[in-house]
């Protein structure tokens, strides 16, 4: 069967380049099947006898906590990893994927959570990268026309000539989807598709997903937390726990509570008890603060707020709206271009990072592997990151390692860090345990101001609950807390006041008890607080 015939038979999906897949498949026919997939890594079985099937026109979600084996399964499906046992059938044909190229050629497309795009290149260059139709000598004009036509078909809007680094997370995702479709994907894998989107962008994406399913594609979203998304969009859902399939359900039969229980293996408390603390005096006052991002563009545009003793201010927003720059400017890691930072009545706008630590500002960075810890250092040396300058820990320039060891042992016990011991290297810890040791060491300084950037991102539910509990403890002890999070539910359940941020501006500050999710969501997407509240 030639390519033109394929298009004639199918009629609806018309990618410019068609991979080597059988053409005639009807809605409802099984187009992908995984049988008894097992994958072992040293010390763990990441996937144990996992079976899964997908029909044409179906949206089949895979749900599981971090560490449940989703990433491994996804990598196997896309040819990045090879299973130790088990078989994969695509369009009824048994396949072995040695590389992503094999998977792509069988009509599988992938949209990554951590966007796989070359930031320095244009949208179009990214889409045609590695595409057989790109030609030896690039024919950008033809490709541009085709890409624009394809985007319009599913209601996406993109500027093919924009550089990827200029795009928002939502736009980047669109580029990835179009790239997969342009490659002729019939089966689309979506990794955490809504994790970086505003509620409005999420709605638009879900519509597009449904449109793609209607046109005969099979869609597999992999989802960790956003249970409502699963309910809203999928036809079936497969739940993974500890590398195994624990449930496969029709979405119409399930509730959020049921899914959460299946996923975690025990009933989950959705509510955290906020300690009742009267906010005291103002600890941090930020006036008109502005700063640039790494590209030299204005990323924070005159932000002002206050945080009091015993109060949590939550900064809610989609990634890339200036949160990172805000945290860094407060921690002293980034120079402000304007405005003032006042901490306990003192102007610290020009104070060094070290001075801020000494004054009682504690910072938990979002990048816990690259910034918050040193992988090749032992846990003792990692704890020292916030103590090497402390007069109690170092005298006359000589560090009291025995004391540091004692402190580390205490913190390991108090925070329940699972590790072979204080001399283990930080790189051997899991994400949750690493975050616990970072949290432990920052909290051990009893900071007057705690800046926590994405403190629970990528953690499993147990570690997540623990971290949240500890943040509330800090509040109860009278710390002022700046919580930066992309998880709106987290912000709403922990904060006393909520400040949605959009393109470097705070759109308004709303007390938690008056906050409505839709309103905050709209503010995160750029509408002004005053308008929405009216």
């Amino acid at each position: 069967m030639t390519m033109s015939e394929v298009r004639a038979v199918e009629g609806r999906v018309e990618p410019p380049y068609m991979p080597d897949v059988p053409a005639a498949f009807r809605p409802g026919e099984v187009i992908l099947e995984m049988r008894n997939i097992t994958k072992r890594f040293p010390g763990v079985v990441a996937n144990r006898r996992i079976s899964f099937d997908l029909r044409a026109g179906e949206i089949h979600a895979i749900l599981g906590e971090n560490g449940a084996g989703k990433t491994t399964l996804m990598s196997i499906l896309f040819g990045l990893l090879q299973p130790d046992e088990g078989e994969i059938y695509v369009f009824g044909k048994k396949v072995t994927f040695r590389s992503p190229l094999d998977a792509i050629n069988m009509g599988i497309g992938m949209v990554h959570q951590h966007r796989k795009l070359v930031a320095a290149h244009t949208v179009l260059e990214n889409i045609i990268l590695g595409h057989p139709r790109a030609g030896r000598i690039l024919n950008l004009k033809r490709a541009e026309e085709e890409v624009v036509a394809l985007a319009e078909k599913y209601g996406f809007r993109i500027d093919p000539r924009a550089r990827v680094w200029q795009l928002s997370e939502g736009e980047k995702q669109v580029v990835e989807i179009i790239k997969a479709l342009y490659r002729g994907a019939r089966i689309l894998i979506l990794d955490e598709p809504t994790s970086a989107l505003t509620p409005q962008e999420t709605d638009r994406l879900l519509e597009s997903i449904e449109a793609m399913a209607r046109s005969g594609l099979g869609v597999v979203p992999f989802i960790t937390h956003k249970l409502p998304i699963v309910l809203a969009v999928s036809d079936r859902v497969t739940v993974l726990r500890r590398g195994e399939v624990v449930a496969r359900l029709d979405t119409k039969d399930v509730t959020e509570q049921l899914l959460a229980e299946k996923m975690v293996g025990r009933p989950v408390l959705f509510d955290l008890k906020k300690p009742d603390v009267q906010p005291g005096e103002v600890i941090l006052r930020v006036e008109n603060l502005s700063t640039l991002n790494d590209k030299g563009l204005l990323a924070l545009k005159g932000v002002s707020f206050e945080i009091r003793e015993g109060e949590i201010l939550g900064i809610a927003g989609v990634s890339g709206n200036g949160q990172r720059e805000l945290a860094e400017v407060l921690a002293g890691l980034r120079k402000p271009t304007g405005g003032r930072i006042v901490f306990e009545g003192k102007d610290i706008t020009q104070a060094s990072v070290l001075d801020r630590w000494r004054m009682g500002i504690g910072y938990i960075p979002a990048e816990r592997k690259d910034v918050g810890s040193i992988g090749e250092f032992s846990l003792v040396e990692n704890v020292l990151m916030n103590f090497y300058f402390d007069p109690g820990m170092a005298r006359n320039g000589i560090i009291d390692y025995a004391k540091a060891l004692r402190l580390t042992k205490e913190l390991i016990i108090e925070f329940g860090v699972s590790t072979p011991g204080p001399e283990a290297k930080a790189k051997t810890l899991s994400g949750g345990n690493l975050q616990k040791i970072i949290l432990a060491r920052v909290m051990a300084r009893r900071p007057r101001l705690l800046i926590a950037a994405l403190p629970t991102q990528g953690l499993d539910i147990g570690a997540m609950e623990f971290v949240r509990k500890k943040i509330l403890e800090a509040k109860a002890r009278g710390s002022a807390v700046l919580l930066i999070s992309e998880d709106l539910d987290e912000v709403m359940s922990l904060s006393d006041r909520i400040a949605p941020i959009y393109e470097g501006e705070i759109m308004g500050i709303i007390p938690a008890e008056k906050a409505k999710k839709e309103v905050i969501g709209a503010m995160m997407a750029g509408s002004r607080g005053e308008e929405t509240q009216q």
Binding site: N105, H112, H121, L129, R136, L138
Partner: protein, 290 residues
């Protein structure tokens, strides 16, 4: 005067050739700080081969071959074994400078062959360099392969999931880079200054490396930089032509290096970085592990 200009163009050819190889190398994400070592190998073995056989072509062929082999070796260390690229590059430099000293020593002295004829007063390699510059520019920015190569250097994991063989692309680039360095060395030893002496390059390779950093990783700008530095180098060798008596001839030799450092500092300033720095391949020097 014309002779001085012609000599400058000849000098610039060596910078262009070595720099071009390194540029392609770096565009694929591999840093080779050892290009001076490869140049020494190309120069020495090319020189010996020509001296023994009396045939220039054999000399150049040997230089290209040894360059390719050393490029492959750098590839094997840094791509396959995952050794730090700087360590591997330093290794190749020290290997080159150590071994060629021993190997070349018995051949110390002039080549003793008729000089390679010039075309319009300039070496044929200059024209070849121009062609290669244009060709590399076209391949890098106008072809599918160029896009793949640049993507591998920017973000190898993106290239991988787009169905590109990252390792193969990088191996191609390092082999090409090595060949160009070997070739540049041979042009030095067989044409520019056909006399073998211990550690005779004295920084040509390192200046070529610096030129790549200035070039915004664009062959055309690299060519411009090479012309400038060829002129500068020639001037530092013949200061009496323009500024007689200003400094001792030894101090004049420092001038190209001082200017290189000044330019390096200039392009490293924040002002410059936010405007031009974006051209730097993002994955440069980072080993790619799946």
């Amino acid at each position: 005067m014309w002779q001085f200009v012609a000599r400058s163009l000849d000098a610039s050819t060596i910078f262009t050739l070595a720099g071009l190889g390194e540029l392609v190398d770096q565009r694929s994400g591999i840093l080779n700080v050892g290009l001076e070592g490869i140049m020494l190998f190309g120069a020495t073995l090319g020189f010996i081969a020509t001296k023994v056989t009396g045939n220039y072509l054999i000399g150049f062929a040997v230089a290209l071959l040894i360059g390719a082999l050393l490029g492959l070796m750098h590839g094997f260390f840094s791509i396959t074994l995952g050794v730090d690229q700087v360590v591997s590059g330093m290794g190749i430099w020290i290997l080159g400078f150590g071994l060629t000293t021993y190997i070349g020593n018995p051949y110390t002295g002039p080549l003793g062959l008729e000089r390679i004829p010039t075309v319009g007063g300039v070496s044929p390699f200059f024209y070849l360099g121009v062609v290669l510059v244009l060709l590399s520019w076209f391949i890098l920015f106008k072809t599918s392969f160029g896009l793949q190569l640049r993507s591998v250097g920017e973000n190898p994991s993106v290239a991988e999931v787009s169905g590109i063989n990252v390792k193969r692309t990088r191996y191609l680039a390092v082999t090409f880079g090595g060949m160009m360095s070997g070739f540049a060395g041979a042009v030095y030893a067989l044409y520019y200054n056909p006399v073998w002496n211990y550690n005779f390059l004295m920084g040509w390779g390192f200046i070529s490396l610096a030129l790549v950093f200035f070039s915004m990783w664009n062959p055309l700008i690299l060519f411009g930089g090479s012309l400038l530095f060829g002129l500068l180098w020639q001037l530092s060798l013949n200061p009496q032509l323009f500024l007689p008596g200003l400094m001792s001839r030894y101090l004049w030799r420092t001038v190209p290096f001082v200017i290189t450092i000044l330019v390096l500092v200039l392009i490293s300033t924040k002002w410059f970085r936010t405007r031009w720095g974006a051209a730097k391949p993002e994955a440069l020097g980072v080993p790619y592990v799946k």
